[in-house]
Amino acid sequence: MTYFFADLPEYAAMILFGVGLSILMLAKNLVKKIIGLNIMDTSVFLFLAAKGYVENTVAPIVTAEELGHIDPSLYSNPVPAGLVLTGIVVSVSVTAVLLSLVVRLNEEFHTLDIDEIIHILRKRDREDLK
């Protein structure tokens, strides 16, 4: 249990992922689903960023003087930082597309509940069949 507090970000990330997943599945309102999705992505980035931390090290930005003799153990791990950056940009663009979809759906069906939309479409199908 000595590492419990040190590993707290990991546990938080896992719980947040579960929370995001449940919102995604249970929320009726589409915007809430998108929020759930964002929570899910952010929890993964929390997990990744937490991985990057190494005790008593600083960010991997070296000064010009010590270019010749850099001691890597002084600097934390740059890889997760890069991954999180890419991840954030991806989740931003996905959220943008989802939100514009919601705008279009709202213009078309005047509702934000996906089940209601499907209900309207099924009704439209039945009229076509007749």
């Binding site: 899910m40 992505d41 996905v94 996906i114 939309i117 479409l121």
Partner: protein, 507 residues
Amino acid sequence: MSLIPNIPAFSIILLMLCGIVCLVLPARWARHLADCAIALACAMSAVLLVAFMRGQEVFTYSMGEIGAPFGNELRAGPLEAAVATLFSVVTLLSILGGRAHLRADIGKKKVNLYYISVLFLLCSMLALVYTNDLFTAYVFVEINTITACGIVMSKEDGYTLAASMRYFIMSLIGSGLFLIAVSILYALTGHLLMSNIQEELAALYAQGQYRAPLQVAIALMGVGLSLKSALWPFSSWLPDAHSSASASSSAMLSGLVLKSFIFLLVKVFYRVVGVDIIRSHAILDLLLVFGILGMIMGSVNALFERDLKRMLAYSSIGQIGYIFCGIGLGTIAGVAAGIVQVAVHACTKAMLFCAAGGLMDASGGSKKFKDLEGAGRRDTYAGVAFIVGTLSMIGIPFFGGFITKLSLVTASVEVGGWRSTLAILAIIVSTILTAIYYINVTAIIFRGEEKTPTRASEKLREEWKKQMRLDTEYEFAIVLFIILNLAIGLQSDRLMDVIRAGLAVFG
């Protein structure tokens, strides 16, 4: 230094560049540029495939001068070259086949946006096939998802918007699971390159360290990717998305997009995790059982469908079940059977969707069976394409479907035990159900006394007269599709050799 190893990187960068340039071009220029870019991609992957057949050995291509653990890497073998050629050829034919529909469905100004999505779709699929780096795979999985939704949305009627919303959300759950699995694997091994991860995992597995995270990561990867490739329990979104999109979009979606995620799953199982670890994991049995259920449930749902494209979409769920049944068997022969089905289903289903587009044109744009009577006679190209598709789906020898069923049964016979009995039973049941609803549709589109069906309303009749001109591109594409299907059926022996050679060096 031969140019062959550069082909994977060239084709990906070329498609990206053409996609970007299409933004500034007017519609007609964008169309020509897209066609040439995809044709060039086909040519390049075909050259690569021929090179591999002539003894070129597997190569890894480092992006930038520092390769292996530090930079990105592409890896190409006979299998990757074959699948890449297949993807680009089917994309080219799907676009040509569905061209008439593009003009009708998509607004004049947004055509070049559609072509951008198609170019990036193919670019991301080729990247997924070639990449040897897990995080690059995640980035291109996202591009794949967004562009796939893009080509569904471009039809912009109520159905496609709702369908693409559901498709998007389900896919994003899948990629969320995939991302967290990649992060866990990175946490355990410190690498993102597939081959390096495999060495580290083998070492960890030998020492018995971090056993629980390894199992969970593999399970998340399996569930995430099967969710994205519409394995049965997660495939509730597929019928709406594939049936409402325009002809070439649904051809590409059903034929290709699902397959690129499946190919990534096979790559993750056999190159990231390694053969022995995956065989001991329960995910394979899970995929086998869901594959079998998918085969049967997909065909059963398709049986009761009264809408042509929804029926084809449900039949896709069934055929995806075949692939997962192959992968779930765990043996190399099983995976080979799965990949043969990837190739066969990609060609057949894309042809059927383009033919369905033609049939809809010939019956006033309606997808319902009652309006489609005699459509096969009005549009003979679509009629013949449907017959070839039906024969292949039934599993008549010398057509694609037969080879899949043959290799799948032989693979499951080798496995033995409850797995093989379940798999063979499911194959037989789903073949029968597939035969029934495909012959039923073929009978419908060829039934009817005179050219136009009796029960259709007056409104539909004039539309048929107006719409009866068929453009040459559509006919050219359908004929090429039929030749492709027959070629796969007759040359299946060579296809199997390439796949087995590819799988041998795949690990």
